[in-house]
Symmetry: C2
Subunit: 213 residues, 2 copies
DNA sequence: TAGATTGTTAATCGATTAACAATC
DNA sequence: TAGATTGTTAATCGATTAACAATC
């Protein structure tokens, strides 16, 4: 693998470039774009943009900039959006349903293939393209289908328990939407959507304090 | 205001300390805690913890550590959780409902006082403690009640339009859950919940690449 | 007291930004 | 060609970590 490992920060910037370019080209067809244009729109330094694009093998043209399609393709390949990734979702509450109904994931290769819940009344219902199953069958489902990702939208109290079950059955990564810290072996990646972190910044601001940067 | 301005990063760490301490004390009563204990649990350097706590005026005791109650109180005060902050929520889809039903916000002083939607069939329903109203009344509601925060859970296509309406009526801050960038005057703070950023890190990892840090 | 923990200063590290020759 | 934009190296900046005397 000639590609050097990319830090979270770089990955997230690449995602922002990608999202921006998709949005721009949706409005009007654009063949090329300069690092300066991306930088200005995203409030990032242009040098940073060139470095990031360089890091995934893109080469710009003097006086012209970068080919938009090439950038998009390179980002898709690097981040793996061109691969199909299966996921299960655990906890079919409102948040779970919101994620199940979100059509955008498909664009990124993410395919939620099943949802699980403990509530018997919910079992069998079909949301989006997947059926809600009993959490009793979660372990075997993950193991047999080798599902790499679990999205956890359960209450905080059961999140660790559910996580352990996923880990025991070979999950590779966990997308944690519950407001609690999870403990996992270090081969498993946990990405925690810290919804409360936003609140800290917002509350501070509403108190009349302005946070720099 | 003797308190220096705190960066986003510091604010977010304070939130993490707070959440951790609440969780710990819920399990068993703890009077004091050392920077090292917090650091270990949150995988942060202990010096960092001491600096952050020092920044909000806390003083530890040699050989003992910090008083847990004092830390919590100081964080609540600094971040403004002891103040009541009103918010409106715009877009009563699944995500909107999830947020309306989330009981945790009250702990942080956040009170969602109204929800708005364009769908006439949803109007009048009551979720949690607030009624779903027509988006036609959004502007006057914000203006008359001087609501400082808007949580946007609409589709991306209308997010900017809704934002403009909020801004025109004096909103102070926007919590953006829609997957689109918003433009606002700089007196208004936008906190963007970038759900897709997590996906970039997760997809990269599932592709077999391990992202450092 | 002895020893663990603090607050603070200094050193390190990494990320961001500036500068500029090379390029189209 | 002239001039805008690149890729890359060097400088800056800020955040993190290490070191250690002061403290309880």
């Amino acid at each position: 693998m000639g590609v050097p490992q990319l830090s979270r920060r770089v990955l997230q910037r690449l995602m922002r470039y990608y999202r921006f370019l998709v949005e721009v080209t949706a409005k009007r067809p654009v063949r090329t774009i300069t690092s300066g244009e991306i930088a200005e729109a995203l409030e990032i330094d242009a040098t940073q943009v060139r470095k990031d694009l360089g890091a995934i093998g893109l080469i710009g043209l003097g006086r012209v900039g970068f080919d938009v399609c090439e950038i998009c393709r390179a980002i898709r390949t690097t981040l793996g959006f061109d691969q199909r990734h299966e996921a299960v979702l655990i906890g079919a509450g409102h948040l779970g349903l919101a994620l199940l109904n979100y059509p955008g994931f498909a664009t990124f290769g993410l395919d939620i293939v099943a949802a699980f819940d403990v509530d018997r009344r919910k079992l069998g219902r079909t949301i989006g393209s997947c059926r809600i199953r009993s959490v009793d069958t979660l372990g075997s489902f993950i193991r047999q289908r080798r599902v790499p990702l679990a999205m956890i939208t359960t209450p905080a109290e059961v999140a660790q328990q559910v996580t352990d079950l996923c880990v025991a059955n070979g999950i590779k990564a966990i997308w944690n939407f519950s407001p609690t810290q999870l403990t996992v072996p270090k081969r498993v990646l946990v990405y925690h959507e810290h919804i409360s972190l936003g609140l800290s910044v917002l509350a501070y601001h509403m108190n009349g304090r302005v946070s720099p940067a």
